[in-house]
């Protein structure tokens, strides 16, 4: 023990610089291991995270800018018109209204129109347009009769009103052998479209852009005649008057009035019985 202590002292006294040099090298090794090599992996991970976050930030920035832009977009301001052209519900009333107004304008007679009950029902999806169904349609079968030129006008006009409709079947017959000025009879199938696609928003997905064809479609849509059917926002009473005479009465006053009436009638009955 005494010899070892003597040796340590001897080494320290004679080789102090070397001992310190070894200690510094050990310390440098520890710094290298703990302070540098052990930090490389966490720094790499942080750097990767930063890269991913920056990419994500770019997406969010783009989307936020797009959302700011679309509010100012003139085309998007026409969304009400687009809703009229392609409604999101079955356009049965609009279709019938169009049929009536176009027939009146083109001076033809519409008869024998038929629609399947399933087509009218709100919750029945009867036709699948495609695998990714984005729209559906109502098929209305009917006949039109009138002079050939007027039937032609009808065929042209019916595709120029909203909601968007297309004639998918035409069969015109004229018996001019019997009568030179005989009227034309056209059996038609009119297909009226409505939008059924479920829309989902994803916070990171960019908004789709409108291309030239889409903008051309918008300008084309402006040429269509809007449907003149008024939007019904309240129940229409039918102006049948006050059938029960209960106008402007709340439940309590009505109750009191009934009690009063029943008391009066019972009093009258008692008086009659007494007489």
């Amino acid at each position: 023990m005494a010899i070892s202590e003597l040796n340590y002292r001897l080494i320290w006294n004679t080789r102090k610089a070397m001992v310190l040099a070894v200690l510094l090298l050990v310390l440098a090794g520890m710094v290298l291991w703990l302070g540098i090599l052990m930090q490389i992996s966490p720094v790499q991970k942080d750097f990767q995270k930063l890269g991913t976050a920056k990419t994500e930030l770019e997406k969010f920035t783009t989307k936020a800018n797009q959302l700011t832009q679309i509010v100012l977009d003139q085309s998007f301001k026409q969304s009400a018109e687009i809703d009229q052209v392609l409604p999101s519900q079955k356009p049965l009333l609009e279709l019938l209204s169009n049929l009536n107004s176009v027939a009146t304008i083109s001076q033809v007679v519409v008869r024998n129109f038929s629609l399947k009950p399933g087509d009218i029902s709100e919750n029945t999806q009867i036709k699948t347009t495609s695998k990714n169904q984005s729209y559906n349609y109502l098929d209305l079968t009917f006949s039109v009769s009138g002079e050939l030129g007027k039937v032609q006008d009808f065929l042209t006009l019916i595709e120029q009103v909203t909601p968007i409709s297309t004639i998918t079947s035409i069969s015109i017959n004229r018996n001019i052998d019997a009568d030179r000025n005989s009227l034309a009879q056209a059996d038609l199938v009119l297909r009226s479209f409505y939008f059924t696609q479920a829309i989902k928003t994803t916070i990171t997905n960019p908004l789709p852009d409108l291309n030239q064809v889409d903008r051309k479609i918008i300008s084309e849509i402006n040429r269509l005649r809007p449907n003149d059917l008024a939007q019904q926002a309240a129940v229409i009473a039918g102006d049948r008057g006050n059938l029960f005479g209960l106008e402007n009465q709340d439940i309590e006053s009505l109750q009191q009035q009934l009690i009063q009436d029943s008391t009066n009638s019972s009093n009258e009955n008692v008086e009659e019985a007494a007489q």
Partner: protein, 183 residues
């Protein structure tokens, strides 16, 4: 010659050893300083990355909030765009049947009457039945049908049937391929 001055030899050897030790001390000090500088640089970089990450995450959170606040606008816009795509699809399927009918009615006005017409969207073709009062009018109809002006408008016209009535009238059936209204 043998050097017998052992003390001088010993002092000389120790001095040389001490100089070597000092040299080694300086080298290890330099190594330690370099290591410390590298460590500080590593931690500084890590701190910088973390600060940036925090700032980017904060910005993302702000944008998310802004985007979610405009969710209704986004839904309205997506519906709007998808409706335009559907309308475009519908337009692309539409054929110029009315235009064709009006064209033939106008061009054959005094020579033939359109007595029948059938059209099925799924088949894409339009068939017309024309009736001419006599052979002379029918001949003019044939000339019009074979004219360059008409063939430029409708390349695919097939004459599918011809019949003569008791009253001398001629009935001709035509089959024509329609173009879509939307280019």
């Amino acid at each position: 010659m043998i050097n017998i001055n052992f003390l001088a030899n010993r002092v000389k050897a120790q001095s040389k050893q001490r100089a070597n030790d000092v040299k080694m001390f300086r080298i290890s000090s330099a190594v330690l300083i370099v290591m410390c500088v590298l460590m500080v640089a590593t931690f500084a970089f890590k701190l910088y990355t973390n600060i940036q990450l925090t700032q980017v995450n904060k910005k993302i959170a702000d944008y998310k909030e802004a985007i979610l606040a405009q969710e209704q606008t986004e839904i309205a816009y997506l519906i709007f765009v998808n409706k335009i795509k559907v309308i475009s699809e519908i337009y692309q399927k539409r054929s110029n049947k009315q235009e064709a009918m009006n064209y033939f009615a106008q061009n054959l006005k005094d020579q033939a009457d359109i007595v029948g017409m059938t059209y099925q969207e799924s088949e894409g073709g339009l068939s017309l039945q024309l009736s001419s009062d006599n052979i002379f009018k029918f001949q003019i109809v044939q000339e019009i049908l074979d004219s360059d002006a008409l063939r430029q408008q409708y390349q695919n016209i097939k004459k599918t049937g011809l019949s003569r009535g008791d009253n001398g009238s001629y009935k001709l059936s035509l089959q024509l391929q329609l173009k879509t209204q939307w280019p």
